[in-house]
Every structure is written in C-alpha cells, then in structure tokens.
Subunit: 90 residues, 2 copies
C-alpha cells in the first residue's frame, strides 16, 4: 500500500486572485514581509499497487486525466510506502 | 528569503465529501485500487525573514490566524531557504 501526496498549483504565468486576496489579508494582519502567495489544491490518496513504479504511474495518470487541468495547472507528487502497522490501522 | 509550503487538510474524523466524489470519479475511470482520498488546500508563500526559526514562527501564526480552521483542519508546513540565484530571478 502506497500513499500519494499530490500538490496542484496554477502555472506561474497565470494570475492567482485567490492567492492575492490571501496575501492582502495576511498583510493587513501585520505581516508585511510575505509575498508571492499562491493557492493550490492538495490531494492525498492510498494506492494498492505492487511496486513504487506502478504507484507512480497510476498517480501520474490520475493527475493528468482527472485532478489537474493541464492548460492552467502544474502538479507534483510524492509516493511513500506505508508500513504494515499503518495499513492495519486504516 | 524563505519559501513556506503549507498543506491544510480536513481532520481525519471529519467526512470529506469532495474527496469521496473524486474517489468515485477515479474508480469510474477504472482505478479500483484507490482509497481514502482526501482533498485539502495547498498554499505557497515567500517570507522575508532573518532566520529559519523566524520563518517557522511567522508561518505557524499565519496558519493559525488565517489559513486553517482549527476546529476542522490540520496543517503541516515545510520551510526552505531560497538560494541567492532564485531570489534574483523572482
């Protein structure tokens, strides 16, 4: 069992009004040293795959087909193997 | 200059209908080996702080005060220092 942690962000060239809004709020709280705030999505899922490579391949396919919009968004992900103990807990 | 990468997720005990919907969509694409899908927010920001500890403290404060809802959400973050080259580019 593997866990995939996926981060999906707007491409650098695309304006992020949600990020700008958060940045203004942060600055109005007094934190003037914050900039370049970008908001994205975070997706965590468990994959029952036979190897790390297969988990990688499945995650990449899911990102391309469903989770990310390739025109506007970039994605990065990390695959970690769950220990036996964690699998039993879940 | 430091970069903070913040992941905000719903607490484990709270139902995640958005995650369930994504999971159903993924499974209807033929990936039956996916489970426990959870959706969260991802925030990236740059902090002009004098030390890693200060960047940590500021990020934690911003998460508590503004980004995360402490009743329903958990957050984790990672602080990385930007190299001189990266700072000049931005």
């Amino acid at each position: 069992m593997y866990t995939a942690q996926i981060k999906i962000t707007l491409r650098k060239s695309i304006l992020d009004p949600q990020g700008k809004t958060v940045e203004h709020s942060v600055q109005s709280l007094g934190y003037r040293n914050i900039k370049n705030t970008r908001i994205g999505k975070y997706v965590e899922l468990e994959i029952d795959a036979s190897s790390q490579e297969e988990a990688n391949r499945i995650t990449d396919e899911i990102c391309r087909k469903l989770l990310a919009n390739p025109v506007m968004e970039d994605y990065t992900f990390q695959i970690t193997e769950q220990s036996e103990a964690e699998v039993e807990q879940s």
